[in-house]
Protein backbone atom coordinates (compact mmCIF):
# COMPACT_ATOMS: atom_id res chain seq x y z
CA UNK A 1 0.00 0.00 0.00
CA UNK A 2 2.88 2.31 0.76
CA UNK A 3 4.20 1.58 -2.70
CA UNK A 4 0.89 2.59 -4.24
CA UNK A 5 1.01 5.97 -2.53
CA UNK A 6 4.64 6.48 -3.50
CA UNK A 7 4.02 5.62 -7.14
CA UNK A 8 0.84 7.68 -7.38
CA UNK A 9 2.38 10.74 -5.78
CA UNK A 10 5.47 10.30 -7.94
CA UNK A 11 3.45 10.26 -11.14
CA UNK A 12 1.27 13.20 -10.07
CA UNK A 13 4.29 15.28 -9.01
CA UNK A 14 6.06 14.54 -12.27
CA UNK A 15 3.01 15.57 -14.26
CA UNK A 16 2.57 18.76 -12.23
CA UNK A 17 6.24 19.60 -12.56
CA UNK A 18 6.09 19.14 -16.32
CA UNK A 19 3.10 21.44 -16.77
CA UNK A 20 4.15 24.26 -14.49
CA UNK A 21 4.49 26.75 -17.34
CA UNK A 22 2.71 25.40 -20.37
CA UNK A 23 4.51 26.47 -23.53
CA UNK A 24 3.09 26.51 -27.02
CA UNK A 25 5.94 24.41 -28.45
CA UNK A 26 6.69 21.84 -25.76
CA UNK A 27 10.08 20.56 -24.77
CA UNK A 28 11.48 18.30 -22.09
CA UNK A 29 9.10 16.78 -19.56
CA UNK A 30 6.02 18.45 -21.02
CA UNK A 31 6.94 17.02 -24.40
CA UNK A 32 7.15 13.56 -22.88
CA UNK A 33 3.71 13.81 -21.31
CA UNK A 34 2.18 15.21 -24.51
CA UNK A 35 3.73 12.41 -26.55
CA UNK A 36 2.41 9.80 -24.13
CA UNK A 37 -1.11 11.17 -23.89
CA UNK A 38 -1.48 11.83 -27.60
CA UNK A 39 -0.06 8.42 -28.46
CA UNK A 40 -2.49 6.68 -26.13
CA UNK A 41 -5.40 8.75 -27.44
CA UNK A 42 -4.69 7.86 -31.07
CA UNK A 43 -4.13 4.24 -30.19
CA UNK A 44 -7.39 3.93 -28.30
CA UNK A 45 -9.30 5.88 -30.92
CA UNK A 46 -8.36 3.27 -33.51
CA UNK A 47 -9.68 0.54 -31.24
CA UNK A 48 -12.89 1.85 -29.73
CA UNK A 49 -13.97 4.66 -32.01
CA UNK A 50 -13.96 8.44 -31.61
CA UNK A 51 -17.21 8.95 -29.70
CA UNK A 52 -16.52 6.43 -26.98
CA UNK A 53 -12.92 7.43 -26.53
CA UNK A 54 -13.88 10.99 -25.54
CA UNK A 55 -15.94 9.68 -22.67
CA UNK A 56 -13.64 6.99 -21.38
CA UNK A 57 -10.08 7.96 -22.28
CA UNK A 58 -9.33 9.23 -18.77
CA UNK A 59 -9.78 5.78 -17.30
CA UNK A 60 -7.74 3.78 -19.79
CA UNK A 61 -4.83 6.20 -19.90
CA UNK A 62 -4.72 6.43 -16.11
CA UNK A 63 -4.81 2.69 -15.67
CA UNK A 64 -2.04 2.20 -18.22
CA UNK A 65 0.29 4.81 -16.72
CA UNK A 66 -0.38 3.70 -13.17
CA UNK A 67 0.10 -0.03 -13.80
CA UNK A 68 3.24 0.64 -15.83
CA UNK A 69 4.72 2.86 -13.10
CA UNK A 70 3.84 0.39 -10.34
CA UNK A 71 5.30 -2.56 -12.26
CA UNK A 72 8.54 -0.78 -13.00
CA UNK A 73 8.83 0.59 -9.48
CA UNK A 74 8.82 -2.97 -8.16
CA UNK A 75 12.05 -3.60 -10.07
CA UNK A 76 14.03 -0.83 -8.37
CA UNK A 77 16.78 -2.50 -6.33
CA UNK A 78 15.80 -2.39 -2.70
CA UNK A 79 12.09 -2.98 -3.14
CA UNK A 80 11.34 -6.27 -1.46
CA UNK A 81 14.80 -6.79 -0.04
CA UNK A 82 15.05 -4.08 2.61
CA UNK A 83 12.89 -4.46 5.65
CA UNK A 84 12.24 -6.11 8.95
CA UNK A 85 13.27 -9.72 9.34
CA UNK A 86 14.68 -12.47 11.51
CA UNK A 87 18.13 -13.91 11.80
CA UNK A 88 17.91 -17.29 10.07
CA UNK A 89 20.56 -19.98 9.62
CA UNK A 90 21.76 -18.56 6.31
CA UNK A 91 22.17 -15.05 7.55
CA UNK A 92 19.58 -12.35 7.78
CA UNK A 93 16.21 -13.20 6.24
CA UNK A 94 13.77 -10.45 5.48
CA UNK A 95 10.26 -11.50 6.43
CA UNK A 96 8.48 -8.16 6.25
CA UNK A 97 9.84 -5.97 3.50
CA UNK A 98 9.50 -2.24 3.76
CA UNK A 99 8.45 -1.78 0.16
CA UNK A 100 7.03 -4.44 -2.14
CA UNK A 101 5.95 -4.52 -5.75
CA UNK A 102 2.48 -3.01 -5.80
CA UNK A 103 0.87 -5.39 -8.23
CA UNK A 104 2.32 -8.51 -6.62
CA UNK A 105 -0.67 -8.40 -4.31
CA UNK A 106 -4.00 -9.82 -5.38
CA UNK A 107 -5.87 -7.17 -3.37
CA UNK A 108 -4.42 -4.40 -5.53
CA UNK A 109 -5.16 -6.00 -8.89
CA UNK A 110 -8.61 -7.11 -7.78
CA UNK A 111 -9.38 -3.56 -6.62
CA UNK A 112 -8.38 -2.18 -10.03
CA UNK A 113 -10.46 -4.83 -11.79
CA UNK A 114 -13.46 -4.00 -9.59
CA UNK A 115 -13.14 -0.29 -10.35
CA UNK A 116 -13.09 -1.17 -14.03
CA UNK A 117 -16.17 -3.34 -13.54
CA UNK A 118 -18.04 -0.50 -11.89
CA UNK A 119 -17.10 1.99 -14.60
CA UNK A 120 -17.97 -0.60 -17.23
CA UNK A 121 -21.46 -1.11 -15.86
CA UNK A 122 -22.00 2.63 -15.58
CA UNK A 123 -20.90 3.18 -19.17
CA UNK A 124 -23.04 0.33 -20.46
CA UNK A 125 -26.09 1.74 -18.72
CA UNK A 126 -25.27 5.25 -19.91
CA UNK A 127 -24.92 4.02 -23.44
CA UNK A 128 -27.99 1.89 -23.89
CA UNK A 129 -30.14 2.27 -20.77
CA UNK A 130 -31.41 -0.64 -18.71
CA UNK A 131 -33.72 -1.98 -21.40
CA UNK A 132 -31.07 -1.53 -24.10
CA UNK A 133 -28.45 -3.42 -22.13
CA UNK A 134 -30.90 -6.25 -21.45
CA UNK A 135 -31.71 -6.48 -25.15
CA UNK A 136 -28.00 -6.34 -26.01
CA UNK A 137 -27.29 -9.37 -23.91
CA UNK A 138 -30.45 -11.43 -24.38
CA UNK A 139 -31.94 -10.14 -27.60
CA UNK A 140 -31.76 -11.89 -30.96
CA UNK A 141 -29.22 -10.46 -33.36
CA UNK A 142 -29.42 -10.52 -37.10
CA UNK A 143 -32.73 -10.80 -38.95
CA UNK A 144 -34.68 -14.00 -39.42
CA UNK A 145 -38.32 -14.50 -40.20
CA UNK A 146 -41.00 -17.07 -39.47
CA UNK A 147 -40.48 -20.10 -37.29
CA UNK A 148 -36.71 -19.64 -37.25
CA UNK A 149 -37.21 -16.29 -35.56
CA UNK A 150 -38.89 -17.83 -32.53
CA UNK A 151 -36.26 -20.54 -32.34
CA UNK A 152 -33.56 -17.87 -32.47
CA UNK A 153 -35.18 -15.96 -29.63
CA UNK A 154 -34.94 -19.03 -27.42
CA UNK A 155 -31.37 -19.70 -28.46
CA UNK A 156 -30.26 -16.14 -27.86
CA UNK A 157 -31.97 -16.10 -24.49
CA UNK A 158 -29.94 -19.11 -23.42
CA UNK A 159 -26.77 -17.59 -24.87
CA UNK A 160 -27.46 -14.50 -22.80
CA UNK A 161 -26.92 -16.44 -19.61
CA UNK A 162 -23.55 -17.65 -20.87
CA UNK A 163 -22.69 -14.08 -21.75
CA UNK A 164 -23.58 -12.89 -18.26
CA UNK A 165 -21.29 -15.57 -16.84
CA UNK A 166 -18.50 -14.44 -19.14
CA UNK A 167 -19.03 -10.80 -18.13
CA UNK A 168 -18.92 -11.71 -14.45
CA UNK A 169 -15.72 -13.68 -14.93
CA UNK A 170 -13.79 -10.97 -16.76
CA UNK A 171 -12.70 -8.88 -13.73
CA UNK A 172 -11.41 -12.02 -12.00
CA UNK A 173 -9.44 -12.98 -15.07
CA UNK A 174 -8.00 -9.46 -15.36
CA UNK A 175 -6.88 -9.39 -11.75
CA UNK A 176 -5.35 -12.86 -11.82
CA UNK A 177 -3.46 -12.20 -15.03
CA UNK A 178 -1.76 -9.07 -13.69
CA UNK A 179 -1.13 -10.55 -10.25
CA UNK A 180 0.27 -13.81 -11.65
CA UNK A 181 2.66 -12.13 -14.04
CA UNK A 182 4.11 -9.68 -11.55
CA UNK A 183 4.25 -12.08 -8.60
CA UNK A 184 5.84 -14.79 -10.73
CA UNK A 185 8.37 -12.26 -11.96
CA UNK A 186 9.32 -11.33 -8.41
CA UNK A 187 9.68 -14.99 -7.47
CA UNK A 188 11.78 -15.64 -10.55
CA UNK A 189 14.17 -12.83 -9.72
CA UNK A 190 14.51 -14.04 -6.15
CA UNK A 191 15.09 -17.64 -7.24
CA UNK A 192 17.73 -16.52 -9.70
CA UNK A 193 19.48 -14.52 -7.02
CA UNK A 194 19.54 -17.46 -4.61
CA UNK A 195 20.62 -20.07 -7.10
CA UNK A 196 24.34 -20.28 -6.27
CA UNK A 197 24.76 -20.98 -2.56
CA UNK A 198 27.94 -22.69 -1.59
CA UNK A 199 31.12 -20.76 -2.26
CA UNK A 200 30.56 -17.49 -0.47
CA UNK A 201 32.29 -15.37 -3.09
CA UNK A 202 30.38 -17.03 -5.93
CA UNK A 203 27.12 -16.47 -4.08
CA UNK A 204 27.71 -12.73 -4.04
CA UNK A 205 29.01 -12.50 -7.59
CA UNK A 206 26.47 -14.72 -9.31
CA UNK A 207 23.67 -13.57 -7.09
CA UNK A 208 24.11 -10.16 -8.64
CA UNK A 209 24.88 -11.29 -12.20
CA UNK A 210 22.32 -14.05 -12.82
CA UNK A 211 19.14 -11.97 -12.43
CA UNK A 212 20.30 -9.28 -14.89
CA UNK A 213 18.74 -10.79 -18.05
CA UNK A 214 15.62 -11.51 -16.06
CA UNK A 215 15.43 -7.88 -15.03
CA UNK A 216 15.19 -6.98 -18.71
CA UNK A 217 12.48 -9.57 -19.16
CA UNK A 218 10.59 -8.14 -16.19
CA UNK A 219 10.78 -4.64 -17.68
CA UNK A 220 9.22 -6.02 -20.85
CA UNK A 221 6.62 -8.04 -18.96
CA UNK A 222 5.64 -5.03 -16.86
CA UNK A 223 5.08 -2.96 -19.99
CA UNK A 224 3.19 -5.73 -21.79
CA UNK A 225 0.91 -6.43 -18.84
CA UNK A 226 0.04 -2.75 -18.48
CA UNK A 227 -0.75 -2.56 -22.18
CA UNK A 228 -2.76 -5.78 -22.08
CA UNK A 229 -4.84 -4.57 -19.13
CA UNK A 230 -5.61 -1.35 -20.98
CA UNK A 231 -6.37 -3.13 -24.27
CA UNK A 232 -8.63 -5.71 -22.70
CA UNK A 233 -10.60 -3.18 -20.69
CA UNK A 234 -11.06 -0.96 -23.73
CA UNK A 235 -12.12 -3.89 -25.92
CA UNK A 236 -14.65 -5.01 -23.30
CA UNK A 237 -16.06 -1.49 -23.19
CA UNK A 238 -16.27 -1.34 -26.98
CA UNK A 239 -18.05 -4.70 -27.06
CA UNK A 240 -20.78 -3.69 -24.68
CA UNK A 241 -21.31 -0.22 -26.12
CA UNK A 242 -22.09 -1.11 -29.72
CA UNK A 243 -25.18 -0.03 -31.57
CA UNK A 244 -26.97 -3.06 -32.94
CA UNK A 245 -28.63 -1.33 -35.93
CA UNK A 246 -25.35 -0.55 -37.66
CA UNK A 247 -24.94 -4.14 -38.73
CA UNK A 248 -28.10 -3.91 -40.83
CA UNK A 249 -27.27 -0.57 -42.41
CA UNK A 250 -24.49 -2.00 -44.53
CA UNK A 251 -26.84 -3.60 -47.06
CA UNK A 252 -28.59 -1.31 -49.51
Amino acid sequence: MLVTWIVASGVILFARFATRKIQEVPSGAQNFWEWLVEGLYGFLESIIGPGLVKKTFWFFATIFIFILATNWFGLVPGVGTIGWGVQGEHGFEVTRPLLRGGNADLNMTFAMAMIFFTCWMVWALQFSGVKGSFLHIFGPKGDSTGVIKYLMIVVFFAVGFLEMLSIAFRPISLSFRLYGNIFAGENLLEAMSNMVQHPAWAKVVFGALLPVPFYFMELLVGFIQAMVFMLLTSVFTALICTHEEEAGEVHH
Binding site: S173, F176, R177, Y179, G180, A184, I224, V228, L232
Partner: protein, 70 residues
Protein backbone atom coordinates in the same frame (compact mmCIF):
# COMPACT_ATOMS: atom_id res chain seq x y z
CA UNK B 1 13.32 -47.56 -11.42
CA UNK B 2 11.02 -45.55 -13.60
CA UNK B 3 7.81 -47.18 -12.34
CA UNK B 4 7.97 -46.07 -8.69
CA UNK B 5 8.90 -42.59 -9.83
CA UNK B 6 5.87 -42.47 -12.10
CA UNK B 7 3.78 -43.91 -9.33
CA UNK B 8 4.53 -41.05 -6.98
CA UNK B 9 3.38 -38.13 -9.09
CA UNK B 10 1.97 -35.89 -6.45
CA UNK B 11 -0.57 -33.14 -6.47
CA UNK B 12 0.31 -30.67 -9.11
CA UNK B 13 -0.42 -32.48 -12.33
CA UNK B 14 -3.17 -29.98 -13.11
CA UNK B 15 -0.64 -27.16 -13.03
CA UNK B 16 1.54 -29.13 -15.43
CA UNK B 17 -1.29 -29.71 -17.85
CA UNK B 18 -2.42 -26.10 -17.64
CA UNK B 19 1.11 -24.96 -18.32
CA UNK B 20 1.35 -27.30 -21.29
CA UNK B 21 -1.86 -26.01 -22.84
CA UNK B 22 -1.01 -22.40 -22.16
CA UNK B 23 2.48 -22.62 -23.62
CA UNK B 24 1.23 -24.37 -26.75
CA UNK B 25 -1.47 -21.74 -27.16
CA UNK B 26 0.98 -18.86 -26.85
CA UNK B 27 3.29 -20.56 -29.32
CA UNK B 28 0.49 -20.96 -31.84
CA UNK B 29 -0.43 -17.27 -31.59
CA UNK B 30 3.22 -16.33 -32.09
CA UNK B 31 3.54 -18.65 -35.07
CA UNK B 32 0.53 -17.18 -36.84
CA UNK B 33 1.55 -13.63 -35.98
CA UNK B 34 5.01 -14.03 -37.50
CA UNK B 35 3.46 -15.65 -40.55
CA UNK B 36 1.08 -12.72 -40.95
CA UNK B 37 3.89 -10.18 -40.70
CA UNK B 38 5.92 -12.20 -43.18
CA UNK B 39 3.12 -12.05 -45.70
CA UNK B 40 2.42 -8.36 -45.16
CA UNK B 41 5.31 -6.51 -43.51
CA UNK B 42 3.46 -3.22 -43.45
CA UNK B 43 0.86 -4.55 -41.03
CA UNK B 44 3.36 -5.03 -38.23
CA UNK B 45 1.71 -2.56 -35.82
CA UNK B 46 -1.78 -3.98 -36.06
CA UNK B 47 -0.59 -7.58 -36.00
CA UNK B 48 1.54 -7.09 -32.94
CA UNK B 49 -1.34 -5.57 -30.99
CA UNK B 50 -3.56 -8.54 -31.76
CA UNK B 51 -0.74 -10.96 -31.06
CA UNK B 52 0.04 -9.51 -27.63
CA UNK B 53 -3.65 -9.54 -26.76
CA UNK B 54 -4.03 -13.16 -27.81
CA UNK B 55 -0.91 -14.22 -25.93
CA UNK B 56 -2.04 -12.55 -22.72
CA UNK B 57 -5.45 -14.21 -22.88
CA UNK B 58 -3.89 -17.61 -23.57
CA UNK B 59 -1.36 -17.23 -20.80
CA UNK B 60 -3.89 -16.26 -18.15
CA UNK B 61 -5.21 -19.82 -17.86
CA UNK B 62 -2.05 -21.06 -16.21
CA UNK B 63 -2.34 -18.41 -13.50
CA UNK B 64 -5.73 -19.73 -12.48
CA UNK B 65 -4.21 -23.21 -12.14
CA UNK B 66 -1.23 -22.03 -10.12
CA UNK B 67 -2.99 -19.77 -7.68
CA UNK B 68 -6.31 -21.52 -7.24
CA UNK B 69 -4.87 -24.73 -5.79
CA UNK B 70 -6.61 -25.66 -2.57
Amino acid sequence: MLTPMLGEMSGSIHVGLAGLGSAIGVGLVGMKASEAVGRNPGAFGKVIVLAVLGMALAEAIVFYAIFLVH
